[in-house]
């Protein structure tokens, strides 16, 4: 939140999370979840000051190339191999309000579907000019954008022939720690989306569709890069008007 803004920060508790909209913890089709899923009921807690607050990150954190994955790991004068794309959109909350100042971190495989990670064993080649990480912070209207290459699909050890569709991972901070979210963006028209055991942990088809970014022809940069639009929705929060006053307020 900018110091120049005289808007009072919101302090209401967040809307109850719709757990049926998200994947359940135990999804046997995604085998790793079997031993990593809590089995007991979660303890419900209406947000306290510990969850309605959260860390903020200033724009001064960002380096010039943080939102340019084509160049932020590349040697001077070189660039990552792959289809050049712009990913942009807005971070909103469930009330449709923009979330300014939200830190987004993203990571992805290279154009051949290979991650730059020591635990990665896929035989596709590394791109010496592609690291695979980037970050940005949303503007006052909740908008963000970054440049990258379209990641490749890749096989992974789950079923004998399971593949991940092309995707970009997103980590998002809102204004309260209860809004913390990690998700993945998929690409319009990819037939592999519906075959993926991780995608289909999400039970509702329209929830899955919320993670598929459409090609945004209008924002495509001629002779340079196609654009995909990916809006992200974080939890909304209640008005504090009718809330009990907290000690010290």
């Amino acid at each position: 939140m900018s110091d120049l803004s005289n808007k009072k920060p919101e302090t209401g508790a967040f809307f109850q999370r719709d757990r049926a909209w998200h994947a359940p913890a135990l999804t046997p089709g995604y085998k790793t979840s079997v031993l990593r899923s809590p089995q007991k009921a979660l303890l419900s807690l209406d947000g306290t000051i510990s969850e309605i607050t959260g860390p903020v990150f200033g724009h001064s954190l960002l380096g010039e190339l943080d939102n340019d994955l084509i160049h932020n790991f590349a040697k001077p004068g070189e660039s990552a191999i792959g289809e050049r794309i712009i990913v942009h959109g807005r971070v909103l909350d469930e009330r449709g309000k923009p979330v300014p100042g939200a830190l987004l971190e993203f990571w992805q495989a290279n154009a051949g579907g290979r991650y730059r990670h020591k635990k990665e064993s896929y035989l596709a080649a590394l791109d010496p000019n592609f690291g695979g990480c980037g970050r940005t912070i949303t503007d006052e209207d909740g908008s963000y954008r970054f440049r990258t290459i379209r990641p490749g699909a890749y096989p992974w050890p789950n079923g004998v022939n399971d593949w991940r569709p092309a995707h970009i991972h997103f980590s998002i901070f809102g204004h309260g720690f209860a809004q913390r979210l990690i998700t993945q963006m998929y690409f319009e028209g990819d037939p592999m989306i519906w075959k993926c055991p991780i995608v289909t942990t999400i039970p509702d088809k329209s929830a899955i569709e919320q993670l598929i970014a459409p090609l945004d022809w209008a924002n495509t940069i001629p002779m340079d890069a196609r654009a995909y639009k990916f809006d992200i929705v974080l939890r909304g929060r209640r008005s504090t008007l009718f809330e009990n006053r907290m000690e010290g307020n």
Binding site: A23, P38, S50, F106, F177, D204, A207, G248
Partner: protein, 204 residues
């Protein structure tokens, strides 16, 4: 027909996957030169007020094996019980304390470590005081939606006995899953994803 409430749905969570380090702690993952440091590595500096402590633990799966690919984040109040956040309206938190930390579990031993300070007490909604605690969030491959929990302090028995969240845990033997024992300046907080010792996770 009635008016449409017009609310949006929260974007569905997806697992952080095995390569979460590339995005969140790239230097730890060996991707150097993009960011100077990994975010959340340092919470304190020389001027931070409060008692210096170390929080250390593991995230343990249903087979008793520590996760070596998890990412743990913590969020806590400063020594006076204030959060370093714009939504903190009770006062100004210690500017030398971020309140937020992030640590991957070790690739060899599965251990996470935070160098921080012991937080003060913050108010519950009804004005009573919560015991000092640290909010903890865990993501990893195989975890479809980030897990929220809290760590309380083993040497705060009196405060813990008054804590409104701990009081709501129906099966009293499970309270211990949220209380980290102290040894010197080190608190050990092992998080069990499943089984008899399953940590109490929160829907917040």
């Amino acid at each position: 027909m009635v008016q449409d409430l017009g609310y949006l749905k929260e974007s569905p969570s997806q697992t952080a996957g095995p390569y979460v380090h590339i995005g969140c702690t790239p230097n730890f993952a060996g991707i150097t030169g993009v960011y100077e440091t990994d975010l959340g590595t340092t919470m304190v500096n020389d001027k931070t007020l409060g008692e210096r402590i170390i929080v250390r633990g593991r995230v343990i799966d249903g087979a008793g094996v520590p996760l070596k690919d998890a990412l743990v984040e913590i969020w806590q109040a400063d020594a006076a019980g204030l959060y370093n956040s714009p939504s903190e309206l009770r006062g100004t938190a210690d500017p030398n304390f971020t309140g937020w930390g992030r640590c991957p579990t070790g690739a060899e031993d599965g251990v996470f470590t935070f160098e921080t300070i012991k937080p003060g007490r913050a108010p519950y909604k009804d004005g009573s005081r919560m015991a000092p605690h640290i909010t903890v969030w865990i993501v990893a491959r195989g975890i479809n939606i980030g897990l929220h929990t809290r760590m309380y302090f083993g040497d705060e028995q009196q405060a813990n006995a008054e804590d409104p969240l701990l009081a709501r845990i129906e099966h009293r033997h499970r309270v211990a899953t949220l209380v980290a024992p102290r040894d010197g300046s080190v608190y050990t907080f092992d998080i069990h994803l499943q089984g008899e010792k399953e940590t109490v996770f929160l829907d917040i």
